[in-house]
């Protein structure tokens, strides 16, 4: 299973995948490329460390991002990797229809809440502010509805009295680092993912 990872940040989830893959824990999974829409993002360094091809998904202009021109370039780039699975791991850009069509049924996203609670941005902050006692993370197939695709796996995280926002963030990221590689392994070996943690 040829996997491409897209991210915008420090790449801790990408690292969890790369580390598990390099340790042979993800079955027939090969991470073939890591891309970031953010120049010099930490995720690219993580890919370097694991000697995986990586690059910045650049745009000719800001305008090109808005009119989808950049995304069309990205499609061409990623098509060359012949991916079976595209993993959005902290990728902060909403992918448009041409991208979704080009890789239909092959894109999964990680969202830091138990969807359908707290879709969109700042999910952990939203959950913390609402005072929920259980939140978590969700891996889902990506379709045209933001955070609305079919759910593959979820993991619960308990908010304990006295938990700060920062601690909750760490707990959720901790759950993510277990669930995301686990789901990729299950998809690679062709079993139904059912344990979120």
């Amino acid at each position: 299973m040829r996997v491409v990872i897209l991210g915008s940040g420090s790449g801790t989830n990408a690292e969890a995948i790369l580390s598990a893959a390099s340790a042979g824990q993800l079955g027939p999974t090969q991470v073939v490329a890591v891309y970031s829409d953010v120049q010099n993002a930490g995720i690219l360094e993580k890919a370097d460390h694991y000697e995986v091809k990586n690059s910045h998904l650049s745009s000719p202009s800001q305008q090109a991002i808005f009119n989808g021109e950049s995304e069309n370039l990205w499609i061409e780039t990623i098509k060359e990797d012949v991916p079976d699975l595209i993993v959005l791991a902290g990728f902060m850009r909403i992918l448009k229809e041409p991208f979704l069509k080009a890789f239909s049924g092959k894109i999964i996203n990680l969202h830091p809440s138990l969807l359908p609670s707290f879709p969109g941005l700042e999910a952990i902050r939203q959950a913390f502010s609402r005072g929920v006692k259980i939140t978590g993370c969700t891996i889902h197939w990506v379709n045209e509805v933001v955070d609305g695709g079919e759910i593959i796996a979820q993991a619960p995280v308990r908010v304990m009295p006295g938990d700060t926002y920062e601690l909750l963030e760490q707990k959720i990221h901790g759950a993510e680092h277990v669930v995301l590689p686990s789901v990729i392994r299950d998809l690679a070996i062709g079993v139904t993912p059912f344990l979120g943690e």
Copy 2:
């Protein structure tokens, strides 16, 4: 802590409370009355079994329910019980402002989902249809926003591959029967509820 329970159905959650209270497991909790807006509801039989005062909250007419006249009668009835806590356990009617004001800060509700996911009716059905992998139940303070009050406790329930709707319903009810008495015990003894199960 004088507790009044309101319900509309078979009363399995009321029974979980009554059973735990009669076994001395709920600290200084006394269930002083059980009421139902539905005549001959199973919940009233359950109260009978535990020798707790119970009755049907009747209405002079359907009109009286809609214009709040009936609810004003219920307020008077329940005030005589001098409740410290009113527990909505499968109570299928939305309480209006006069009721909420009369017992301000004293009403808790049990909802069969991890709020804010799936508020409103048929929460278990909604969760099952959406294909979530984790759902559960929520105990929250009741305010004027339906299913919108401050969350007291939540318990997670995992949806496993092959779970039928009926099984999921049973699993969630099972969680409810643990969490609801546990929250009442914690409120009675004055500690912060934090374990959902």
